[in-house]
C-alpha cells in the first residue's frame, strides 16, 4: 500500500481506537468490577478485594463446569486432530470431484449457521435414540472444529515439497515411516496452531452446545444460566479468569502461527 497522508492516517487511527474501545472496553469493565464494588451509582474505590475470586473456588458447580469444558475440549480437539489430518492427507494424495465434494462436506458445519449444525445433530441423536450427554457435546464440538484442523493441515501440506516425500520413499522408508519422520515434523506447528485454535473454539462454543447438551453443562452453559439472573461480582471474577486463559491461548497460538 502507498503511504497515507497524515490527516487520513489520523482519521483511520481514530476509527480503529473507537472500535478497539468497543471491543475491549466492556471486557475491561467486567474485570474491573470483579475487584471493585459498584454501589449507589458509583465505584466504591475502597472496596478492592479478591473475595469474588475466593468464592469461585468454593463453588462446586463452577469447578464442575470448568472440568467438563476442559474434558470436552481436549477430547474433541484430539479427535479432530487425528480425523482432520487423515482427511487432509486423503485430499492431498489425489485429485477429483469426489475429494472436492468431501471437502465441502467437511466445511459445511462451519458454513451453515451454528443453529443449523446444532439442530441437525440434535435431531440425529434423537432419531438414533442416543441420549444427550457430554458425549454428544464432544461429537458436536469435533464436527465443528474439524474444519479448522483440516484447513490448517491441508494448507501446510501444500507447502511441503513433494521431493522430500519422494526422496524419503526412494531412500527406502515405507509410507508410515515417511509420514512419521518426514511429513509429521513439517506439520507439527500447523497441528499445534490448529489444536490451540480448535480448543479455544471448543472452550467458547455456545450455540451448538446449548442444543446438544444433556444435564451436565460446560462453562458457557453455566454462564448463560447465571447471566439470566443478573450481574454479580462472582460472574465478573469468572469472566476475568476465562479472559486471562483465552489471552494466554491466543498468545500461544500466534507464536506457532507466525512461525513459517
Amino acid at each position: 500500500m502507498m503511504r497515507l497522508a497524515l490527516p487520513i492516517q489520523a482519521a483511520l487511527w481514530i476509527v480503529a481506537a473507537f472500535v478497539l474501545l468497543l471491543l475491549y472496553g466492556p471486557l475491561f469493565l467486567a474485570i474491573f468490577f470483579s475487584f471493585f464494588a459498584f454501589r449507589s451509582n458509583r465505584v466504591q474505590w475502597d472496596s478492592f478485594s479478591f473475595t469474588a475470586y475466593a468464592r469461585l473456588m468454593d463453588n462446586q458447580r463452577i469447578i464442575d463446569a470448568l472440568t467438563n469444558t476442559f474434558v470436552v475440549g481436549v477430547i474433541a480437539v484430539a479427535l479432530a486432530l487425528v480425523i482432520g489430518t487423515l482427511l487432509a492427507l486423503y485430499h492431498h494424495a489425489g485429485r477429483g470431484r469426489g475429494r472436492d465434494l468431501l471437502q465441502v462436506v467437511i466445511y459445511l458445519p462451519f458454513l451453515v449457521p451454528p443453529i443449523v449444525t446444532g439442530l441437525s445433530l440434535l435431531i440425529f441423536f434423537r432419531q438414533i435414540d442416543f441420549e444427550r450427554s457430554l458425549v454428544t457435546v464432544v461429537i458436536g464440538h469435533t464436527v465443528f472444529v474439524l474444519a479448522v484442523v483440516y484447513r490448517n493441515v491441508l494448507a501446510r501440506l501444500q507447502t511441503v515439497s513433494r521431493t522430500l516425500v519422494e526422496a524419503s520413499l526412494d531412500l527406502g522408508a515405507n509410507r508410515w515411516q515417511t509420514f512419521r519422520y518426514v511429513l509429521l515434523p513439517q506439520l507439527m506447528t500447523a497441528l499445534l496452531a490448529a489444536g490451540i485454535l480448535a480448543f479455544a473454539l471448543s472452550f467458547d462454543e455456545t450455540l451448538i452446545t446449548l442444543l446438544v447438551t444433556g444435564t451436565k453443562s460446560t462453562l458457557p452453559m453455566w454462564l448463560w444460566s447465571m447471566m439470566r439472573l443478573g450481574f454479580t461480582p462472582d460472574v465478573n471474577a469468572l469472566v476475568a479468569l476465562v479472559l486471562a486463559g483465552t489471552t494466554l491461548l491466543c498468545l500461544l497460538a500466534t507464536r506457532y502461527l507466525t512461525k513459517p
Binding site: 458509583r42 450455540l207 448463560w224
Partner: protein, 305 residues
C-alpha cells in the same frame, strides 16, 4: 501427539525387508476402500444429520408425536400464520444492517492495517483478531452490563447528572441486538477486507500515481474496486452469523427484539414442534446460501488485467 520430534537417520541403506514389505504393502490400499474410509465419518456425523434435518421439515406433529407422512404444512404455515414472515424479513434486514455497520467500521481499519509496515501491521492486526477467540457469551454479558437500564452507562450518567431517568432505548429491543451483534462481528469484516487490500499488487498503485492520479482518484478507481471482494466476503460472513444467532437476541433483545433464530430455538424448547422448527431453519438457509454464493463468487474473482 509427541511434543518433540526426533529425526531418525533417513539415510540408511535399503535392505531386503524394506523392499519386501515396505512402501508397496503399506501404501497399497484399494482405492474404493480408501474412499469409503475417508467418507465414513463425515457422512455419519455431518451429511446424515443434515439430511435428516431437511427431511424432518416435511413431517408434521400431532399432539406430541411426529407423524411420518410427507406434507408441506410447515412451509405453508410459515406464509399463512401471522408473525413468521414479518419476523423473517426483519431478521434479514437486521443482518443486512449489522453487515453494513461491520463493513463501514471494518474498512477503515483494514485500510489502516494494510498501510502499516512490518511488525506494527501484525501487532495491530492481532488486537482485532484476538476478540474472535474470546468467549462469546462473556462479550454479550459485558456489553449488556454497560447498556442496560441498570447498567454502567446509565448509572454513571445518572450520577454525573447528565440524565434524570435511565435511558431505556439502549437495551431490550432490536437496536440493542443490532449494536451488540455489530460489535461482536466487526473482526469478521476486518480480516477479509485486509486480505483483499494486501493482495492488490503495488505496481498497480504506482502505475496509477505515475499516470498522474491523485491519491483519492487512485483509491476510488483502483483500490476500492479491487478490495470489493473482501467487502463482499466480510459482509456475507457477518450477515450469516447475525441472522442465525439466537443467544444474542435472547440476552439483549428482550421481548421487542424477537428474531427468527429465537423463533426456531423456541420450537425445540417450550414450543416443542421439531418438524416446524426444522422447516423454519431450512427457510433460514435460503438467505444464508445466497450470502455464501456471493462470498464464493467474490473469492473466485480475479483481476481482469
Amino acid at each position: 501427539m509427541e511434543g518433540r520430534v526426533q529425526h531418525p537417520p533417513l539415510l540408511r541403506p535399503m535392505d531386503q525387508r524394506d523392499i519386501a514389505d515396505g512402501r508397496r504393502a503399506v501404501g497399497a490400499w484399494p482405492d474404493a476402500l480408501l474412499t469409503a474410509t475417508a467418507w465414513a465419518l463425515p457422512t455419519a456425523f455431518i451429511l446424515v444429520p443434515l439430511l435428516l434435518f431437511l427431511i424432518l421439515g416435511f413431517f408434521e406433529i400431532q399432539g406430541t408425536e411426529i407423524v411420518y407422512r410427507l406434507t408441506l404444512k410447515n412451509y405453508t404455515r410459515f406464509f399463512t400464520d401471522a408473525g413468521f414472515l414479518p419476523t423473517f424479513i426483519s431478521t434479514c434486514l437486521l443482518g443486512l444492517k449489522v453487515a453494513a455497520i461491520a463493513v463501514v467500521l471494518g474498512y477503515p481499519i483494514a485500510y489502516l492495517l494494510a498501510s502499516l509496515r512490518g511488525r506494527a501491521k501484525y501487532t495491530v492486526a492481532m488486537f482485532f483478531a484476538v476478540p474472535l477467540l474470546m468467549s462469546y457469551i462473556i462479550k454479550i454479558y459485558a456489553i449488556r452490563s454497560i447498556l442496560g437500564g441498570n447498567g454502567f452507562l446509565n448509572r454513571s450518567l445518572l450520577y454525573l447528572g447528565v440524565i434524570d431517568e435511565p435511558w431505556t432505548f439502549l437495551i431490550f429491543n432490536l437496536n440493542a441486538v443490532m449494536l451488540t451483534l455489530a460489535i461482536l462481528l466487526v473482526p469478521f469484516a476486518i480480516l477479509p477486507i485486509f486480505v483483499a487490500l494486501e493482495r492488490i499488487p503495488r505496481n498497480l498503485l504506482e502505475a496509477s500515481a505515475d499516470l498522474g492520479a491523485r491519491p483519492l482518484l487512485t483509491f476510488l478507481t483502483v483500490i476500492l474496486p479491487l478490495s470489493l471482494q473482501g467487502v463482499v466476503i466480510g459482509a456475507s460472513l457477518t450477515f450469516v452469523l447475525a441472522i442465525g444467532d439466537y443467544v444474542t437476541p435472547q440476552m439483549v433483545g428482550g421481548i421487542e427484539g424477537f428474531t427468527f433464530g429465537r423463533i426456531i430455538y423456541s420450537q425445540f424448547g417450550f414450543g416443542n414442534n421439531w418438524p416446524f422448527g426444522a422447516a423454519l431453519s431450512v427457510i433460514l438457509l435460503i438467505p444464508v446460501l445466497m450470502a455464501i454464493v456471493a462470498a464464493d463468487r467474490a473469492g473466485r474473482a480475479r483481476y481482469a488485467t
